[in-house]
């Protein structure tokens, strides 16, 4: 059993009689109620080779549905299932860093300078849901936390049959691996918004949250972090859930080329980024009806077609407020605007400080106080569900 941290489901690997679990197994997705929601038959062959201390896994994978209808038959190149990534070097590109969703090889250097390695697999990636720059990996040989051997034959950890010497289902060691993204990568916002349509509207719970990150955590009156010129950031969190299905996206608006913002007074090309795990200092969350949520999505899609970035007049805060205040039947958030050192004098500017101060005053006055979260120092947003093809 592979338990994914903070996840609502587990993954169960069932070996075939007489076959090595690292090469062939049934993979079942189990929800929090213990129901099987999805299943695949995985057949994987390959080998790890190393050149100059860089190891890679190459081989072949066959993924069938439980009725033996083939889902994918693909070669694995350097740990990547080629069929899931048509652009063969996408995972290597700094512009779009994606971990191999199938195999990651780890190196273990013992104290006697002896190098070993093991192959790890992103089981969720086999369903086609790669995590992009991060994910939970389990050892391909099925290493277990309890007693028993690493090689499974039959139905258990020793011999044949369904017995498990550990008493119950053995649990895999999992490792969370994330790719340290060096730069904010622009996303196709439509692919992120598309995910929400996969969840039925009937009985769905939806929410929109505005989050603000002030540049200096312990001083909300400072416009900039003078050490790096950061003015802070305001972004949105959209959530839709129905039963055990949840889609959660953190979206923020940025200039495409930061260096252009102060070299020209006119608007410049903008972009959207995935703000999952972004720091924040205050947030306000509002629940919305599914039909209202559809309207919010449409609003973002419309803005995304024509939007331009302007540090004074339409920055990340303006975008976030524009969307958040379009929630019907709610009081729009009106924030105080400021003259910023780099802005035009006559047009005061929306800033993350303005949002923070507004949320703080609302919290102090107990206006939507329960929906406002102001961490003691700072907090971090969760992870986005990512794009849907």
């Amino acid at each position: 059993m592979t338990r994914l941290h903070n996840s609502r489901f587990d993954l169960l690997k069932i070996p075939f009689v007489g076959k090595n679990v690292s090469n062939e197994f049934i993979l079942l997705k189990i929800d929090s109620s213990g129901n099987f929601s999805k299943g695949l038959i995985i057949s994987i062959t390959g080998k790890t080779t190393g050149i100059d201390n860089r190891y890679s896994y190459n081989g072949h994978i066959n993924i069938d549905f439980l009725n033996r209808v083939n889902k994918i038959s693909s070669i694995i190149v350097d740990g990547v299932i080629s069929e899931y990534h048509k652009t063969s070097i996408a995972y290597r590109s700094l512009a779009e860093p994606i971990l191999p969703e199938v195999i990651v090889t780890c190196y273990i250097h013992s104290s006697s300078d002896f190098t070993t390695y093991s192959d790890w697999i992103n089981l969720m990636g086999l369903f086609g849901n790669y995590s992009g720059s991060s994910g939970y990996y389990s050892n391909m040989n099925g290493s277990i936390t309890g007693s028993g051997s690493n090689n499974y034959s039959g139905g258990g950890s020793s011999g044949t049959g369904g017995n498990n010497s550990g008493g119950g289902i053995a649990e895999d060691n999992t490792a969370f691996i994330d790719f340290e993204v060096l730069s904010d990568v622009a996303i196709d916002i439509n692919e992120y918004l598309k995910c929400f349509s996969s969840i039925p509207n009937n009985g769905a719970s939806c929410s929109v949250e505005i989050l603000t990150d002030i540049p200096v955590d312990n001083d909300p009156n400072k416009f900039f972090d003078w050490s790096n010129g950061s003015p802070g950031h305001t972004f949105l969190h959209l959530t839709k859930s129905n039963g055990d299905k949840t889609v959660s996206q953190y979206l923020g608006f940025y200039p495409k080329y930061g260096w252009k913002t102060l070299l020209t007074a006119s608007t410049i090309e903008g972009k959207f980024d995935d703000n999952g795990t972004h720091e924040f200092n205050a947030s306000l969350k509002r629940d919305v009806k599914p039909e209202e949520f559809i309207g919010i999505i449409s609003k973002i899609e419309t803005l995304a077609k024509n939007i331009k970035y302007d540090i004074d007049n339409y920055n990340c805060t303006d975008f976030a407020l524009d969307v958040f205040n379009s929630i019907p039947n709610t009081n729009p958030i009106a924030i105080r605007k400021f003259n910023i050192p780099i802005g035009e004098y006559r047009n005061k500017t929306s800033t993350p400080q303005g949002v923070y101060q507004k949320l703080k005053s609302m919290k102090d006055a107990n206006i939507e106080g329960l929906n406002i979260n102001i961490p003691t120092s700072k907090a971090y947003a969760g992870e986005s569900s990512g794009p849907c093809n």
């Binding site: 050490s227 950061s230 260096w259 102060l262």
Partner: protein, 152 residues
């Protein structure tokens, strides 16, 4: 034959003038201040970041000001060989200022400076000028040392 000599002399003159421009202290200062920083939301010339940081006594700003002032003093007031030593020290301080600016940026807010073409070109230009400036001052210092040694 005379034409060849003239052409050669002209080429040499142009080459020497180019070297002189590249190794001039003011060229170094201008290229330093016009390094283009690209942040997530804002960006601009490094000169702006120096001024913004001064209000908060940021280390990178102080180093930048010290280095720049030292270069100017060297150029205007000092005599060889102290001048060359001072130039090299000032250059080191300026490069340290840039290093500190990016090193203290723990959240990599300005990391796109190294991934976008125009900022990268401007940074590259500064380092080319720095290398030329450093080599020129090192050669002049070496020559000054040799001269003083011969005079002894």
């Amino acid at each position: 034959m005379q034409v060849k000599v003239v052409v050669h002399a002209t080429k040499k003159l142009i080459f020497m003038k180019t070297i002189r421009i590249f190794t001039h202290p003011y060229t170094l200062i201008v290229s330093f201040c016009t390094i283009l920083i690209s942040g997530e939301h804002i960006g601009g010339f490094y000169f702006m970041y120096i001024l913004l940081g001064l209000t908060d006594r940021a280390l990178h700003s102080i180093l930048a000001i010290v280095g720049t002032v030292l270069i100017i003093i060297s150029h205007v007031k000092l005599q060889r060989p102290v001048k060359f030593i001072s130039n090299l020290i000032a250059l080191a301080i300026m490069i340290l200022s840039i290093f500190v600016f990016f090193y203290q940026d723990k959240e990599n807010y300005n990391i796109e400076t190294f991934y976008q073409v125009v900022p990268l070109v401007m940074m590259g230009f500064f380092f080319i000028v720095s290398i030329a400036f450093a080599i020129n001052n090192a050669i002049l210092l070496f020559n000054a040392y040799n001269i003083s040694k011969n005079l002894q």
